[in-house]
Every structure is written in C-alpha cells, then in structure tokens.
Symmetry: C2
C-alpha cells in the first residue's frame, strides 16, 4: 500500500518517505513518517502534521527538528503534502496561496477543483488507512497538529470528525478562514460564493456547536507578519472562552511565521500530545 521512496536511520528510529495511491486526490501522494524506536516493540500512537501554504510532505521533516523528542516519547510523526499533485488545472499555480500547495484540507465542491481537491477525505480517511494498515501504529490514539493553513486544517478537521483525533495543537493557525483574505480566496474557489457554506470549515464558527477532544495548545509569534491580516487568534480565544473549551494560547514576543518559530516550540507540542494521548 505504501511504496518506500527512501528511508534513513534517525534518533534510533527511521525517517521514511513513501508514495501511495489516493482516490480522493486522483493520483499518487507522498507521505513522510518518523517511526520512533519504540515501534519495534509494538504499535505507537501517531501524530499527524499538516503543513502550511507552499509546503510539501518534506518541509516539516527537514525544518522542524521534531524527530528527537518524538523518538524519546514514542510518537509516530506522519506528514502529508498540502494539495493534490497529479491532476492539474488552469490557474492552479498562478499564485502561492491557492491551488498547488494550498489545498486548505477540505473537499472542494466547485468545478474543476471538486474532482480531486479533496484533502479532507484524503487526510481523515485515506492517509490514516494507508499508514495504519502498513506501519506499527496504534489505531486507538491519534493526534493532529499543523502550521498556518495546516493549523486551520488540524483545528477544523478535529472539530469536524469527532472521535477521530484525540489531541490537537497548532502553530500560528488561520483560526477563522472565512473572515480573512487567504481563506476568502481559497473558499470562494473551492466552496463557491455562498458564505454560509464556508462556516462548516471555519474553526471559530464550528466552535459555536462543537468542542475539541481535549485541551488545545496554540503558539503564536507576535513578530509574525501574517498575524493581524490572516490569523485571528483573538477570535479563537473568544470562541473557546464562550464555549468553555480548554485552550492554552501562548503569544511570543519577536517570533515570526517561520520554521525557526516552530522548531523553538515543537518540543512543547510533542509533550502536549504525548500527555493527551497517554492511556488513561
């Protein structure tokens, strides 16, 4: 099911890159997986990472420095690509914030995108099935986290699929895509012009009726150039307060939107997930 592209010893475990067929995305998709050393003894919980605009399955693996602590804690790290890559459409590479590298972790309903821009089905069904069928992964405990567009993905998918994920966190997430330029551009193309339909993919809106599976950890840099225009952490904070959702939102002076920010705080996120995913 998973075809191995490459495999590297890392921190006593293995950092592997795979390819597999996706029906939802209409062709092969690439996946990276860190298998911690504990997988040799038995299945371990997996933590799914969703990357931001322009990234691939390789970005987090290369830049976040997550393997050390994941190998210590016995967490499998799974990272996928940020859009379908096989089928191509006119305009899908005209800008860096839409189309290729910008799937927004939803199933498009508007042509032509609806044919294969189905990242929600891919992430929540096909990806999980592929790695759980093949690798030493505990099927009862899953975490999800992400950065920026992938933070939106982690937050919204965990709300939209109750019971699927058991721990959630995000770095600089797009908290309310239906209200900001990145989200307006993507949603209008993928979901059409009816803004009511957008709310089902907007974390702040979803929190009116839904709750996360456990306490949520969010880190946000205050030197992030996208903060005021695209990210809306204040709205998330307000929505969590209104619904009684347990949230730890940390604001960090001077930190920007880069993987240097992620690398600085990745250890806290991995320990957060390990705690929330621990057998009770």
């Amino acid at each position: 099911m998973l075809e191995t592209l490459s495999s590297h010893a890392a921190f006593g475990g293995t950092q592997a890159f795979y390819r597999h067929e996706s029906v939802a995305c209409g062709g092969p998709m690439k996946v990276s997986v860190l298998l911690p050393p504990q997988c040799k003894e038995g299945p371990r919980p997996a933590l799914y990472y969703l990357a931001g605009l322009t990234c691939t399955e390789e970005t987090f693996v290369t830049k976040a420095g997550a393997q050390r602590v994941a190998a210590e804690l016995g967490l499998v790290l799974v990272t996928c690509d940020t859009s379908p890559r096989s089928a191509r459409f006119v305009g899908d590479d005209a800008s860096w914030d839409f189309g290729q590298g910008a799937g927004f972790y939803l199933d498009a309903t508007e042509a032509p995108w609806s044919a294969v821009y189905r990242m929600e089905t891919y992430v929540t069904r096909e990806l999980i099935e592929a790695v759980e069928a093949t690798l030493s992964i505990d099927r009862t405990r899953r975490g999800i986290f992400g950065h920026s567009m992938g933070g939106h993905g982690a937050l919204s998918l965990s709300l939209r699929h109750p019971g699927l994920y058991h721990s959630v966190s995000a770095f600089a997430p797009i908290c309310s895509p239906s209200r900001v330029p990145w989200g307006e551009k993507a949603f209008s193309h993928y979901l059409g012009s009816d803004r009511e339909a957008w709310k089902a993919h907007d974390t702040v809106e979803l929190l009116r009726t839904r709750r996360f599976p456990s306490k949520v950890l969010i880190d946000q840099g205050l030197g992030d150039k996208f903060l005021s225009r695209e990210l809306s952490p204040d709205l998330l904070e307000e929505a969590c307060r209104a619904s009684g959702q347990d949230l730890v939102l940390r604001r960090h002076e001077g930190y920007d939107h880069s993987y240097y920010f992620i690398a600085t705080f990745i250890e806290d996120h991995l320990r957060h997930h390990a705690r929330e995913l621990a057998p009770r």
Copy 2:
C-alpha cells in the same frame, strides 16, 4: 561589514543570515549565524561549521537542528557557503562534486580557479574577521566542525592553522582526500598534478607532523554509501594512533550520509565543543 539579509527569533536568540564582501572569493559571500541568548550579556565562543558538497550556508541551519543546544550552551554557530559564487568559470557547474558548491576549503593554485577559489583564506581569515568585528563573539575561543567535504575542511584547517581553532569535530569527514576519487578530482584541478602538493591538504598526511588542538570527536554512519569509496576513517584512526592524537571515532550501525544522521548526533558534538572551549 555584515549586511543583514534576514533575521529570525529562535530559541531565545537569533538566527540571522548575512552577506559580506570577500576579497579572497572575489565577491559577496553569504553567512548564517545563530546568536544564542547569552550574547546579549557578552561575547560567546563561536563554532564554525563547514558543509559538504552541494550545500550552502543555509543547509546546516535548516536541517541539523543545532540551534536548541547551541542556545542552551551559549555557542555562536557560524556557517558559510561551500564555494565562491560570484565569478564563474567554464565547467564550474558541470558536476556536483567540483566547482560550484565544492570549494574543498583550500586556496587553489591552478588557473583559472586560483583567482577566486580561495576558501581557506576566506574561512580562516575573512570570515572570522567579519563576524568577530560585528557580532558578540569571544575572540579567544573558536571551534570548527563539518560534514563530509566540510569534515575534511574542519580537520585539515585546524591542523594547518595552529592556535586558530581550539576544538574540532566532524561528521563522516573525507579523512584522506589525496587518496580518494572526490579528492583526486578536486585537488588535480585546484592544486595541479603534483601529488606531493596535495599532502599539505590531507588530514592523514598532516597528522604525520601535526596535532589537533584537543581531543577530536568523529561520527561515522556504517550505512553511509560513500564510506568505503571516499571517507577512510580507518586511515584517520591509524594516523591518530601513530601520533598519539586523542580521538573518539564512533561508528553507527545503519546511519547514512544525510542530515538525519547529523541531527541525531549534533547534540554530542555541541557538548564536545562546549567542553573543549570552556575557560580552563
């Protein structure tokens, strides 16, 4: 002297990218520097990293995961490029192991390379002067380390410049370039056909008459595809034994030549340098 290209908060310190003019290399060169938080209080020792074939000043910064421990230990990390980049010559990009990205950390003596392929002068003089003149760096304690071609650079430059560096280590270094294909190709073009002249840039040969400033740490993966053809750690071990040089050479089952290998063992190298650079 250093023009800032970008700067990112990281682990309480700053990961910065600079450009500066190099006379030796005939034009601007790029440099990356991690300034640990301790630099705000006073000068800290700097550790110079030399990268391998095809890399740039960015590779180590992105992939090695070194910032966390350097920020803890108060070590400045300086990384430069792997060749001059401004002047271009016919054939300098014909292969990945010669010319662009493959300066071998020596001053070429053969035309046309001798005009600007002068990475030894650049690394041991201009780079040090540029960062020490501008940043909060302790001028009395310097370390040097590197990977593959950069491991050759770290080992040979520390032997060729007694007193300049006070601690040394390497990941999968080319220990005896004058005896292996990578070195033969580079040295014959940069230094000419007289193999006697090559010995002055060959760590194993230099060890006949010289010693490192302190104990040397080397890590080598046994799953490294370049090991038997290019790296010769056995010759280094033998030369150190013959000369009474204190060497810790660790061989690691399954690890390859990649930055996953480096990331796995980077913490040990940084702690090695911090120990050797500590005030006595």
